[in-house]
Amino acid sequence: MAIVDRRKFTTGLLGLGAVSAGLNLPAYAQGKKPKVVVIGGGAGGATAARYIAKDSKGAIDVTLIEPTRKYYTCFFSNLYLGGLRDYESIGHTYDTLASGHGVNVIHDWAVSVDGAAKTVELGSGAKVAYDRLVISPGIDMKYDSVPGYSVEGQDTMPHAWKSGTQVALLKSQVENMREGGTFVMVPPPNPFRCPPGPYERISMIAHVLSKKNPTAKIVVLDPKEKFSKQGLFEEGWQKHYPDMIEWIPASVSGGVKNINMDTMEIETDIDTFKADAASVVPAQKAGAICDRAGITDGDWCPIVPATMQSRADENIHVLGDASVASAMPKSGFSANSQAKVAAMAIRGALTGSKVFDPRFANTCWSLIDANDGVKVGANYKAGTDKIEVADKFISKTGEDEALRKETYEESESWYTAISADMFS
């Protein structure tokens, strides 16, 4: 079968004589400059484009397709909500990827993928050919997962789960709440982008309200029974924002039955909550281009752990939130780590460079209050079927203030470093 043959050639790194028969020769063995196209210039895609271009030293042609000219990170968007960062500090351009690494950056949408012809069609109608395709489009929302919520409702009760102007909108809605008003947060069901994210958001909104509007309340209508770093968050909420936050799991509320966008009423079995401001984060799925590329199974894209290749198409690597990375959470750190593994595999396949044992890592820092940082992290290895945890850690409840401050400062350093690792 062709698939297997091609992989043997790329893997075996055989002398050219041994593969002279091949229609399936990798591009480098045919003397052509191999082409990699990357869809999506976020945590996964920008890192992959940068590492492939940088480490292949011009031997691979890298094209990055990304509609926006400035990428506003979701990571640290909660700190912006909390007034601890300004908006522009979380925005990054693609200038250095182009000028410093020779990445061909095209600001457009990828609208379809022809896996047989190995081409990507752009919004402009142009087609871009690839030898390997990287897809890292992040998430799309399943708006109808919350009854009454809709794409039109996203400005009334912003999900703000893709960063950008929605976060700015949410921030102004929080700041303009009436005195003693109610903020309602509806977190998403599993699996979703950034497991501790909704709870860090709640913390940062509480941080703002405790200063500007101390009699305000926050109600969390969670479809889940437990959440990431729960013990740490609950301890911190009690300490910093006593009596402000009420977290209600679905077993108690019966879940959200309906949202009336006009009256800002959120109906559950136990009560109808009238919100003065709200953030509703629906269930999620892989970015729509994944469906169009035929690489989804249900909502997400299964992958081969060691290379992040799609299980459906060996010429496509799927990174970040869109992939089924099993034990790895959907985080920017994970996407960045997966991108490096995929970049190594792609260079190996296209230029014959060495391929080492793949290693993945993640750390997610969260801020509970200014200077009160916590973290959870792990090392992962590529099992045959799944990415598996090797070693893990989590901050402890009851840690002293000095350690929490150090953890927060570490997260600030991480943000600067990972931004550079993606865009410098």
């Binding site: 290379t307 992290g377 570490e410």
Partner: protein
């Protein structure tokens, strides 16, 4: 689905014979470090480019044995063999230190 992709079939160049002093191996391992340690100092996380080789090895071993605190660094160090640490030390010590 367009047919399943077979499980991993890339060669994994591993083991001490390849690892020690192999700059490509050091460079690959270093890609995990630079998510947090860039060549310029970024706040409280130190720059490790240009770091003294013996110093690097000693510190990593102290994290690995948990004699130095910091859960992230302990977890990073936990899966590094002596050869891995040597390859990283060789790689980072050869880089230009930050200005």
């Amino acid at each position: 689905m367009r047919g399943a992709v077979a499980a991993l079939s890339y060669i994994c160049v591993m083991g001490s014979a390849f690892a020690e002093g192999d700059p490509e191996y050091g460079q690959y391992l270093s890609s995990e470090c630079v998510t947090c340690h860039q060549s310029a100092v970024t706040g409280t996380i130190p720059a490790i480019a240009g770091m003294n080789e013996e110093g690097f090895i000693a510190l990593m071993k102290l994290y690995r044995s948990k004699q130095l605190e910091n859960k992230t660094m302990q977890t990073v160090a936990m899966r590094l063999s002596d050869e891995d640490i040597a390859a990283l030390a060789a790689y980072f010590s050869a880089l230009k230190p930050p200005d």
